[in-house]
């Protein structure tokens, strides 16, 4: 689609409106916004998403009946595909609709930018020097009066509304008497713990704490070393360095985006159910997240000392040791302690899938609906986590 108002936006048609005249339609933004790939992709997804939801609302289609209602059988592609099984037969046309709407979004984005208004994509992916140049040209508008501001608001509101529909948000369910009664029963049992199993609970939580401790301690050296390879300011200088950086970043992001719970399931198949599997899962996740946190610290260091050390003729390792490490060591320690704290909390969860420790115990009692015992375990967990939290806060404060 070409939504160019007049011929004003055409590239190469000279400076638009050199006399500073401005009408309502042309607006005061008399400059052609450059169209880049990144911004178009972003806007295509954003507009495509909005258009898809709009279409879904108009046609009254919901998540559940995504099967049948949107398009008639005469839809070109669907008739071509109907021969196969039931379920996926109408899925493909939907994909096509979404793709078409995304493409529409892309052209919408290009059109709007060409017309001299800045879309959200344009705003986000504008190169900094261009930004500086354009910003000096006129008084800035309040953000919510700009095109990208309006786009942001609409996207947010639509997403909020969609989220309420999709999560089946219902006040009625919360206050219904049946559900309320059940919750009250469980809570009252939890509130009257059975202290007979206390020794068992303490042993289990010790196992959990050791698991968290070992996972953290084993993860720290790996994360420490990886962090320097994942820091753009150290690795971005050479081509090989940048390749290593990109590869490691991707690998760690993937590792990190898989929850420890999933890793625990994988490892319990691998090394058998028990604390070892839980520890491995925690460790892997800890390496990935610590390496990311650490490397961000490395990226935010002051370049001055690095220059100072480089200027003495020091080698790369010496630069890292003398200029980088002193700047990051305290935050490293504080992050590590914080991470141990997180790991203690997480390892109780990991226990739920057979990762050992107190989580496994909870699973057993909960399966038998022995809520009094579960109450004891919950109490032990609460106390431990609270103690860890306080301790870690104190330690982090002390070394600041």
């Amino acid at each position: 689609m070409s939504s160019r108002p007049g011929s004003r936006g055409r590239r190469g048609s000279g400076r638009p409106n050199q006399h500073g005249k401005s009408s309502f339609f042309t607006g005061t933004r008399e400059r052609i916004r450059p169209v880049t790939i990144k911004q178009t992709i972003f806007d295509a997804i954003c507009f495509g998403y909005l258009l898809t939801i709009a279409l879904a609302v108009i046609t009254g289609v919901t998540e559940d009946d995504v099967e049948a209602r949107l398009l008639p059988e005469s839809w070109v592609v669907s008739s071509f595909l109907t021969a196969k099984e039931e379920a996926p037969k109408n899925q493909l046309p939907y994909a096509f609709v979404v793709l078409a709407l995304t493409a529409l979004g892309a052209s919408l984005s290009i059109g709007i930018n060409r017309a001299g208004f800045q879309t959200l994509g344009g705003f986000l992916f504008e190169s900094p020097d261009k930004k500086a140049r354009l910003d000096t040209e006129g008084p800035a508008k309040t953000w919510w009066k700009t095109t990208w501001g309006i786009q942001t608001i609409i996207t947010f509101l639509v997403t909020f509304a969609a989220a309420i529909v999709v999560t089946e948000f219902s006040l009625y369910e919360i206050f219904s008497s049946d559900g309320f009664e059940g919750a009250r029963r469980v809570f009252s049992s939890l509130a009257t713990p059975n202290f007979a199993i206390l020794p068992m609970a303490v042993l289990a939580i010790l196992e959990t704490i050791f698991m968290a401790f070992l996972a953290t301690v084993l993860a720290v050296p790996a994360a420490f070393i990886l962090s320097f390879f994942c820091a753009k300011n150290l690795m971005g200088q050479t081509k090989i360095g940048f390749a290593v950086y990109t590869f490691l970043r991707a690998l760690l992001n993937i590792t990190r985006s898989i929850e420890p719970l999933i890793w625990a399931i994988i490892f319990s198949v691998w090394v058998g159910i028990g604390p070892f599997a839980g520890m491995l899962a925690l460790m892997l996740h800890t390496v990935a997240s610590l390496a990311k946190l650490y490397s961000e610290l490395v990226e935010s260091i002051d370049d001055g000392p690095v220059d100072g050390i480089l200027a003495t003729g020091a080698g790369p390792l010496q630069v890292v040791w003398f200029a980088v490490v002193p700047q990051v060591i305290l935050p490293y320690i504080s992050f590590t302690i914080y991470r141990w704290d997180i790991n203690v909390r997480m390892s109780t969860i990991i226990g739920l899938v057979g990762g050992g420790g107190i989580g496994t115990l909870i699973m057993q009692f909960q399966g038998q609906a022995r809520w009094h015992e579960v109450g004891t375990l919950a109490l032990v967990i609460v106390l431990t986590v609270w103690a860890m939290d306080v301790a870690s806060a104190y330690i982090r404060e002390a070394i600041k």
């Binding site: 100072g308 480089l310 020091a314």
Partner: protein
Amino acid sequence: MICPTIRGNETGQPFCPLMTHDQGGCHDGNRAGVRLRRDFPPLSRRRVHLIALNLPRALSTMAKNCRGVVFRRKAHTLTAKQLSIRNLAKRFSGDIHALRSVSFDVEKGEFLVIIGLSGSGKSTLLRCINHLHEPTGGQILLHGQDITRPRTAERRQLRSRVAMIFQQFNLIGRHTVLSNVLMGALGRTGTLKSILGLFSAQERKRALEYLDLVGIADKANIRADRLSGGQQQRVAIARALMQKPEILLADEPVSSLDPATCHVVMDYLKKINRELDITILCNLHFLDLVRRYARRVVALREGILVFEGDPKEIDQEWFRRIYGEETQDVHIE
């Protein structure tokens, strides 16, 4: 070669920066040019343009119009210099020409001061010399030897011969003063040894001597970030000396110090220049400091060398050429 250094200034009064070398034009690493009379008439814009387009013809035209003589210097007369910068250029990504074409020579034991507006490329020039930035054009010669594109090992070796101090001191705040000075020896200490802190007793002794030289031996075991700015800069000087350099680059060494401390630090620089015979290239902003300490001055403007000579020669007229017309009300003296 087209000389990129020729351009008019803002007032439309064309000036020719290449006139500044011995009042004569010079190109291609000072090897050819026009030597002009001292009171050469201002060049017209057209002629300046011409020079840029056709160098040989422009040179002879210039010689005729300005009653100068064309000269050709022999290359070897220049290589005896300790440091020669030839047409040095540095372009940053985003098409920022920090240095366009800078040529000058430095002799051993000199105290050379580089002046110029903020953003004129002074820091870039110094950082190119010890390869904290890689130059994108031109040449740097150290004792006649081309060091423009060193390999990794050579670069480290070069950096330990050419020390540098910075405006922000760039010490390692969490280490002691002594250990900061010892870091000057990193270039010739093995990686593992230095990381384990195994500097030889002799190095330690030297470090203390240099601390003594800059007058803060008593602070040797204090954390470096506990010192005042002036003291930190003196530690930085000691660290630089620890490298046993032949050249010391100082990038605005006193810009974050008060006027009194300024002189203390500058006096130490002067002292090491005189007593240890270390060549100093120093960026400065204040002309009174320049007059007091510089033996020779070069001035940069937008990445071009616009003045080279004695600090006393910088009169009101030159001041305006270097710093731009709008600063004419600033009183120098």
